[in-house]
Symmetry: C2
Subunit: 103 residues, 2 copies
Amino acid sequence: MMRPLMAALGAAVLSTPPAVAADIDVGRQRATQCSSCHGVNGRSPVPNYPNLAGQNALYIQYALELYREEARTGGLAGLMHVQAAPLTDEDIANLAAYFGSLD
Amino acid sequence: MMRPLMAALGAAVLSTPPAVAADIDVGRQRATQCSSCHGVNGRSPVPNYPNLAGQNALYIQYALELYREEARTGGLAGLMHVQAAPLTDEDIANLAAYFGSLD
């Protein structure tokens, strides 16, 4: 059950939903650039990098937006900014849907 | 197969291993404070919050250290700093081992 405060915090950071429907198949193709660090099928071969398989799609969207805008800093955020900078809102929605769909 | 550059980047951010062996059972008990946002068993009930179940333990350790030191900013990092600030290295190692052990 979602607590009211938590729900409010969650709602406060939700991005505007993308204008386009997310396409898992397009996301899968776009994700080839992610695979060297996050693994084929979202299971990272690097122990201190996150797995993305099965992650909440909305969290992935949110994180990619933060990286793209350089709003998330610390650790290897600079590396992720370089990756995310060229992504459109549609790319992000597709990538989030793809990784969220994985087991 | 791990690429040399990726391996070097990975190694560069690895924390010093904790002085104590991680204890999954102790981590499970410590994780009760995490469950309202990240879910019982690490499956978040909030769609824009990350699942932690099955995440790489070393990534969880690394993220908690960043939050604790306020080295990660952006989004809801301030909220996570409050949660992580009281954690010892041992707490973090135990939490990371616990969430990493979940399916």
